[in-house]
């Protein structure tokens, strides 16, 4: 009797997580020890400013790539070589908010060469080399309030874009914070960043200056729509305060369609305006392992009010977030954050509407296409709060719903909902491997969630965010795996491991090392003084540093430890740390030279040592720096292995 009541009560409970996971999920994500994952999954780090690399389907964290934030773990942004990477017009900015990623593409498919990342706060884009998994280039963007709709990419990596999330007065002007001032002074900009097809180098080719509104997400057209870029917008109300309410008043905001091929023609024909400005372009040289900064002083701007017929607006319900182009390039899916439907626009209809001038009016002189004229159809009652859509290449779309916390699968052709699964909890972006390309790999969809609450062992008030992996092979989506992430994951990319793993570098060739302070072998080590600057040319090899005894340093000296790792074997990094260093340590890869600046504040003997467990005698890989009071007569001397030598440097093999 009582047992029956319990059973009845249990069955009345809401669907639990356990119920959502079926029996064979574990075997589908099990990657046996020593085996490789099928996909590299690059995940944005959000407020961590970094990019993480996971293996799929195991969900194992493989690496965190430092991009916009300093990383004391390996000295990125702390060592002298990488400090220039984080320089901006507003000084050294060692952190950011990293939202979206784009893998380089050729013919609309991932080519495995580079990964691009945006910085939402101090407007920047970064390029990561997928041979070394290192950030090799960071470009600041002028006239941007916050680089959110970025770094979405064209099908042959002609351009990545940067659209401002915050309308601001351009040319760094100040302006009153009133709605009248907003309407008069505030602008939105879209930067078209050209990618050099050989080197990958980024440069701002031109900027399109739009009326003030907030650009949210973006996608390039592909196939038939190649040559176009689409951006979602919110706050076309042009509110400058309490946007929560004031930017949610209009029934429809816009999708901005930019014909970038036409814009490029205008730019090439010299029809743009050159504007004086300043922005940083930072590049890491693979030759000398050192970054340098260049300040660019000019940007080419295009005004759609003067140069006609390359920007159009399409009404889209309720502050759209996602603005996603399907693999055929024919359909554009808008996702109104506050809408109860998903509008799907057809590229053919958009071009026809433009040809027929089926406009309902204009917004600051930019034609607004009639909603119905551009519409393929609407997905009715899909869920609450659609955010972002990806595709499986089989005619299906997968849309994330933040408010109803679910992934919904629907058919592009007939706009019918096919399946839905809950996420835990409050999904933002989702990602199908290759889901933004012409040929999605399909197989999985990953949900990136904001709230984890009861999902893992509690860790105090500050909790991790998470990812959930679903199989999309069958008719029904199936939850396979749930794992925590670093920072806050926004968008992500995944590529077949086979497209990258063979090219992954193992070492740097020491003979190709052109670092100005490299020590080519232990015989090349020395210590030199120029005024109060002391340069230590140091080498690291299993299991000693050369020199490992240094005397004649004085309080207040700027000591630069230029550590060259002489190893030429895979996975033999050496670390370098010195007591009381107020910046970080170094982690030096085989064949590389890194520099740590150390300014001793007090006399004494400062031990230094290797921080990476490199070998059986790693613990012995240590030495001493003697620091004397300022003006001391202790001569500069250094050695390893000998006890009395001011000139020669011993070599102990």
């Amino acid at each position: 009797m009582s047992l029956g009541a319990v059973v009845a009560f249990q069955s009345c409970k809401m669907k639990t997580t356990e119920a959502a996971v079926s029996g064979d999920a574990a075997s589908k994500v099990y990657v046996a020890p020593g085996k490789y994952d099928e996909f590299y999954n690059f995940v944005s780090g959000g407020f961590s400013g970094q990019v993480s690399v996971y293996g799929l389907p195991s969900g194992r964290l493989l690496k965190v790539i430092p991009v916009f934030s300093q990383n004391p773990e390996n000295g990125y942004g702390f060592n002298e070589e990488t400090k220039p990477m984080l320089q901006t017009t507003h000084g050294y900015v060692p952190w950011d908010d990293q939202h979206h990623l784009a893998l380089s593409q050729t013919n609309g498919e991932h080519d495995g060469r580079w990964l691009f990342a945006n910085a939402n706060n101090t407007p920047r884009v970064a390029r990561i080399d997928l041979k070394t998994f290192k950030t090799v280039e960071i470009l600041e963007l002028p006239n941007s309030g916050g680089n959110h709709s970025s770094p979405f990419i064209t099908e042959n990596s002609e351009y990545i874009v940067g659209g401002t999330r915050f309308a601001v007065p351009i040319a760094n002007q100040e302006a009153a914070l009133t709605q009248a001032s907003f309407k008069a002074n505030f602008k939105s900009t879209v930067s078209f960043i050209a990618i050099d097809p050989n080197s990958g180098h980024m440069s701002v080719d031109f900027q399109v200056i739009l009326p003030g509104m907030d650009l949210d997400l973006s996608r390039a057209g592909k196939g038939p729509s190649h040559g176009w870029f689409f951006f979602s917008t919110y706050n076309t109300e042009q509110a400058n305060t309490l946007l929560e309410v004031n930017a949610s008043q209009k029934d429809k905001d816009y999708i901005v369609a930019i014909n970038w091929k036409k814009a490029q023609e205008y730019a090439r024909a010299g029809k743009g305006k050159k504007m004086a400005t300043e922005y940083y372009h930072n590049m890491l040289s693979e030759e000398n392992h050192t970054a340098t900064s260049e300040v660019v002083k000019e940007v080419l701007t295009l005004d759609p009010n003067e140069l006609k017929d390359f920007v159009y607006l399409i009404p889209c319900p309720k502050s759209p977030h996602g603005c996603d182009v399907d693999p055929t390039g024919e359909y554009i899916v808008g996702s109104g954050k506050l809408a109860a439907l998903i509008p799907v626009f057809a590229y053919q209809k958009i071009t026809k509407a433009i040809a027929d001038k089926a406009f309902e009016g204009d917004y600051y002189g930019i034609p607004v296409i009639k909603y119905e004229a551009a519409l393929h159809g609407e997905v009715k009652k899909p869920g609450l709060g659609p955010l972002h859509t990806e595709f499986d290449g089989k005619g299906n779309a997968y849309t994330s719903f933040f408010v109803s916390s679910e992934v919904v699968k629907w058919s592009i052709k007939d706009l019918k909902v096919l399946d839905r699964v809950p996420t835990y909890y409050s999904i933002g972006h989702l990602m199908v491997p290759g889901g933004d390309t012409k040929k999605p790999y399909g197989k999985y969809v990953v949900a990136y969630n904001k709230i984890t609450k009861d999902r893992y062992l509690p860790t105090g008030p500050e909790l991790t965010q998470s990812a959930q992996l679903y199989s999309i092979d069958g008719d029904k989506m199936q939850l396979l795996l749930d794992y925590p992430t670093i920072g806050e994951p926004h968008y992500a990319q995944a590529i077949l491991a086979d497209k990258i793993k063979a090219q992954s570098a193992k070492i740097y060739d020491i003979n190709a090392n052109k670092h100005p302070y490299v020590s080519m072998g232990e015989k090349g080590t020395k210590v030199t003084r120029e005024g109060n600057q002391v340069h230590v040319y140091m080498t690291a090899i299993r299991s000693h540093l050369t020199p490992d005894n240094i005397e004649g340093i004085q309080v207040g000296d700027e000591v630069y430890f230029h550590v060259t790792n002489l190893e030429q074997d895979w996975d033999v990094p050496h670390g370098f740390a010195i007591k009381h260093a107020d910046n970080a340590e170094l982690l030096v890869m085989p064949g590389e030279t890194n520099t740590l600046k150390f300014v001793p504040k007090k006399p004494g003997v400062y031990p230094f040592y290797c921080t990476d467990f490199c070998s059986a005698l790693h613990q012995e890989m240590q030495g001493y720096l003697r620091v004397s009071p300022k003006g001391s007569s202790v001569p500069l001397k250094w050695h390893t292995g000998k006890t009395d030598s001011a000139a020669a440097v011993a070599t102990v093999r």
């Binding site: 090899i541 299993r542 299991s543 190893e567 030429q568 074997d569 070998s615 059986a616 005698l617 012995e620 093999r653």
Partner: protein, 207 residues
């Protein structure tokens, strides 16, 4: 007179190389010449930290493979570092083999069985001296260790096997002929086989 003449011709035929013998000279020279293009010997090493394996290739005039990696590891046990410049053999061996090939052509020109036998003996003299030399180097590297080496295992020497498998500390070593070495061995089999054949033929004709 006729008898004597026939006997001389017969005797001459008995001393002269067969067609097979003459062809074999080209084969042997070909096999030996391959050593300029193919490695002679190979030592493979495996350890838990080296799942991909490391190896060393010995050529008649060079050492290739992961020599730097091996040198890096060997400093723990105080083994001397291996440098191409230390081996005078890389000059002598190619000269000796070139002379050997030249002598082969001379044997062909003289066209005498006895020349072939001597040539075969020279082959084995070169092979024997080379193998002894190889063993001596291995012994030297394996035993003459730096007394201040970080890792000292009492009674432990690190001489790699001349041929075959051996376990040394965390490393497993496998030493064996490489492609060029197998060609050289083939050359050896040919000179022995053909010498035997020539000798049998001479005996048959004598009966």
């Amino acid at each position: 007179m006729l008898m004597k003449c026939t006997a001389i011709i017969f005797l001459d035929r008995m001393k002269k190389l067969s067609v097979l013998g003459r062809i074999s000279i080209f084969l042997v020279i070909g096999c030996v010449a391959s050593l300029w293009f193919l490695p002679m010997w190979r030592i493979d090493l495996a350890a838990p930290q080296y799942p991909e394996g490391i190896f060393m290739e010995i050529w008649i005039n060079d050492i290739k493979g992961n020599v730097d990696v091996i040198n890096g590891l060997n400093h723990y046990i105080g083994m001397k570092t291996i440098h191409k410049e230390d081996f005078k053999e890389f000059i002598y061996i190619p000269i000796a083999l070139m002379v050997f090939c030249g002598l082969g052509l001379l044997v062909l020109l003289l066209n005498r069985k006895v020349g072939y036998y001597i040539w075969a003996l020279i082959f084995f003299a070169i092979a024997g001296v080379s193998m002894y030399n190889f063993w001596k180097w291995e012994y030297d590297y394996g035993h003459n260790l730096d007394p201040t080496a970080p890792i000292k295992v009492p009674g432990m020497a690190y001489q790699p096997p001349l041929i075959g498998y051996k376990k040394m500390l965390n490393f497993e070593a496998l030493s064996q002929p490489d492609v060029g070495g197998w060609f050289f061995i083939a050359a050896g089999i040919i000179v022995v086989g053909v010498s035997f054949y020539e000798w049998k033929q001479a005996k048959k004709q004598l009966k």
